[in-house]
Symmetry: C2
Subunit: 183 residues, 2 copies
């Protein structure tokens, strides 16, 4: 049983679906931990894991993710969650209205503490910001993100998102490693 530290039920559901396909089980541990301010998700995730190690017994993993819009110099990036809760998807659309490019990247970083040391697993997916919010599945910026090679937003794709998302990719690397590590 792998313990996933998160307060985000959507993330947990995505990880659980992915874990099942590896024959793994995960458990949601709802703790609200401190995050640092940094431009790099891996640095944030690693420091969070170090902080949580003091509070949590034994192995666990956590994840940090963000939407990086090229034309906005990577905004909202590591502060995606705060930006979502204040200006929302509308904020991103408003910011891009008179700008040229709509290229964006969704990134996910998992940090796993195995009881002794830390490992980091990254996943990302390129795409573009839609002209308007579409769809109701998923969470966060899903209604305005169209992954490369698709016409639908993540929020229109439903569970299909879990095959090509940034989080699917970091999770695949992580679960592959864990399921090969043996008992």
């Amino acid at each position: 049983m792998l313990r996933f530290l998160t307060t985000n039920r959507h993330k947990f559901d995505e990880f659980r679906a992915k874990a099942e396909s590896y024959g793994l089980e995960i458990e949601m541990v709802e703790i609200d931990y401190e995050e640092i301010q940094a431009p790099d998700l891996a640095e944030i995730a690693l420091r969070s894991a170090q902080i949580c190690r003091e509070r949590v017994e034994g192995p666990f993993f956590l994840e940090d993710s963000g939407l990086f819009v090229e034309e906005l110099n990577g905004f909202p990036g590591p502060y995606s969650s705060y930006v979502f809760s204040t200006v929302g998807t509308r904020g991103i659309l408003d910011l891009l209205r008179d700008r040229q490019g709509r290229e964006a990247e969704f990134k996910s970083v998992i940090c796993h503490f195995d009881g002794e040391g830390y490992s980091v697993f990254r996943g990302s997916v390129g795409g573009r910001i839609s002209e308007e919010a579409r769809g109701s599945a998923g969470f966060g910026y899903d209604p305005i993100f169209i992954p490369l090679g698709h016409d639908l937003t993540f929020a229109e794709m439903g569970p299909e998102k879990n095959r090509c998302s940034h989080r699917a990719r970091s999770a695949e690397k992580f679960f592959t490693t864990v399921s090969h590590a043996g008992p």
Copy 2:
């Protein structure tokens, strides 16, 4: 001599001018410290001071500040610096273009470590976001912030800003306390 931990020359200059009027001298100590993610500036400043205490000998102070736009649910708030470096003042203007209110508040929090304990000093100034960026003095969001009772932006006011700004107010409380504390 009071030691001010900052990498921001503009902030240092504002504090120095204010300190002089209290007969106090301050020294700029350029260290780049870790900040946490939190909605409250005081929490961020206090945790920063606790982190810096490990790295810095003896007493010091530091400051965190942010612009809180009411219509944007407090955005950019504690992440003002990151938001400025990615979408800039233009970003705030774009976000407000089709919205109703332009009320905003600039907040400053000083955290002083006196060698034994921590004290927090707050200052704030209400105002509104201008329709366009104006003026070239100051830094950050100064060109788009018009303090209450004025028609000029902070960036148009020049040194006059140092009489009514959020930072002037937190600094006045701090320097008043320090100059009465005796040797």
